[in-house]
Amino acid sequence: MSVTAAEVRAWIGAYAQTISEHRAELVRLDTAIGDGDHGTNMERGMRAAVEKLEATDGDDVGALLKAVGMALVSKVGGAAGPLYGTLFLQMGSAASGREELDLAGWADALEAGVRGVQARGKAEPEDKTMIDALLPAVAALRAAEGDGAELGDALRRSAGAAEQGMQATIPLEARKGRASYLGPRSVGHQDPGATSSHLLLRAAAETFGDA
């Protein structure tokens, strides 16, 4: 029960597909409280990430994750580029040289990535950002690890926690990013970054939930 290079490739491919399918939804969410480019930017970035992975050989999970991060940093732009780029770069550093990750290894990598996102974006919980989906997902992974859960079960629990965190952004007033300029008018809208983060973890659960 582990995450290997083949699964990382499948996960990134699945996420790129998911982002394309949800492009219009992400644009709609971002138009409500941002500038409407999140779906378009993530689609462009994930397309580049898939191309980069196709051009990257090897079984080093960390190297693949770093390649995804570099593609996102150079192709997404906006705030999402550095933030998602940092997520994958830090995950890659944590997994550097590893050919497979067990649940603890996956949780370590994701936690390192999320810590990187927080350091770069300086968001706190309940600022109505992607952090609100990512932090609960890490906590759920750690709890599952403590329960001795299988990797697949743990991933499904982390995706579920991310979904709840995403939905919990709806009543929040944004305090970071462009949505914060709206003040109280940001209340009642689901955060687009939390939404794309939930989709990322859901894609992981669906791709290597049975690994």
């Binding site: 500038d35 409407g36 480019d37 930017n41 550095p82 780029g85 970071k176």
Partner: protein, 332 residues
């Protein structure tokens, strides 16, 4: 969506090819990653100045590349921050050995990408200083937001810092000047219509025929509040009051005034705005000593305007009057 384009996905690249074709005598365009750079860059011994941001604000920033202003500009996708690899490429292209100033508008994406770029430039042994502009008084509570946005003062800072760099001032001095200009400048914007990004094809917000949006940014994002449309004199009074009371600008102050169109407002209306602003400031004993009226920092085809004031001193007037030779700003 009615736009003079070929392909929504090719808007930025095709516009850059147009800029290259039109201004190839003074500019060079690098296409991957996208950078507009002075043809004679790097200028040895001169501080390099770069800026960048989403496209859709033309002429900012690419139209301000040239002698006496920016050495390079990084155009992102429409309303999307450029990426660190563009900024690094620009930084390397303009470094003449005296260091490079990054002028960054305070938008989360711009700030994060420029931070990553500065980290990368440090690895290449290029001295970089970054100054973040944040002159938008429409954002009131900076403790619980991403902070005030960088808007009109950015154009003025690029001109003044460009002049200082041409004079041979050091990186530390040019950066200090940029911070001073930002600290003495304030802006506010309003919209009569939303705009449509080519990527989304939809208006960035809905606005009734009789409504206006006060306190907008420059990325089609909605403003702070929405009101019934009013005469220009009332609108200018509201905007100018917010600006003047924020710094505050006081009787006896000399200012530079930028009356800026958002892209879809004709000059005839911008001059009415200037008339009202001039009267308002005279009433408060504030004298406009230099001015700029036109479309300089736009939001695609949005109708509306922004007002920026900068408190002047003799030093700033001299730098403003110094020669500048760019596609969008040229004198001396």
């Amino acid at each position: 969506m009615k736009k003079l384009i070929n392909d929504p996905d090719a808007v930025v690249r095709e516009a850059l090819e147009g800029i290259e074709a039109a201004h190839g005598d003074t500019l060079r365009v690098i296409h991957d990653p996208a950078v507009i750079v002075r043809a004679d860059a790097p200028v040895q011994g001169k501080v390099g100045i770069i800026s960048g941001g989403g496209s859709g604000h033309e002429p900012m920033h690419g139209g301000f590349v040239g002698r006496g202003m920016l050495d390079a500009a990084c155009p992102g996708e429409v309303f999307t921050s450029p990426t660190p690899d563009q900024m690094l490429e620009a930084t390397k292209a303009v470094d003449g050995g005296a260091g490079v100033l990054h002028i960054v508008k305070n938008y989360t994406g711009d700030v994060l990408n420029f931070e990553m770029a500065a980290d990368l430039a440090g690895g290449e042994d290029i001295q970089v200083e970054a100054v973040v502009t944040n002159d938008d008084v429409a954002v009131q509570d900076s403790l619980y937001t991403a902070g005030r946005r960088g808007v009109g003062i950015t154009v003025i800072a690029e001109k003044l810092c460009g002049a200082a760099a041409e004079e041979g001032q050091s990186l530390a001095d040019v950066a200090e000047l940029c911070r001073k200009v930002n600290a003495q400048g304030r802006s506010m914007g309003m919209a009569l219509t939303p705009c449509i990004t080519p990527g989304s094809g939809e208006p960035s917000f809905e606005l009734g025929d009789d409504e206006m949006e006060i306190g907008i940014g420059i990325h089609g994002e909605p403003g702070r509040y929405r009101e019934q449309l009013a005469p220009a004199s009332d609108i200018v009074d509201r905007m100018a009051t917010a600006i003047v009371e924020d710094l505050p600008y006081e009787s006896g102050d000399r200012v530079l005034a930028l009356v800026n169109g958002m892209g879809g407002t004709p000059l005839i209306e911008l001059y009415i705005v200037y008339r009202e602003l001039d009267r308002f400031l005279q009433g408060r004993g504030i004298g406009i000593e230099r001015r700029l009226v036109g479309n300089y920092i736009t939001s695609l085809e949005m109708a509306g305007c922004s007002i920026t004031l900068l408190k002047l001193d003799d030093d700033l007037v001299r730098l403003w009057d110094a020669p500048v030779d760019t596609p969008a700003l040229r004198w001396g």
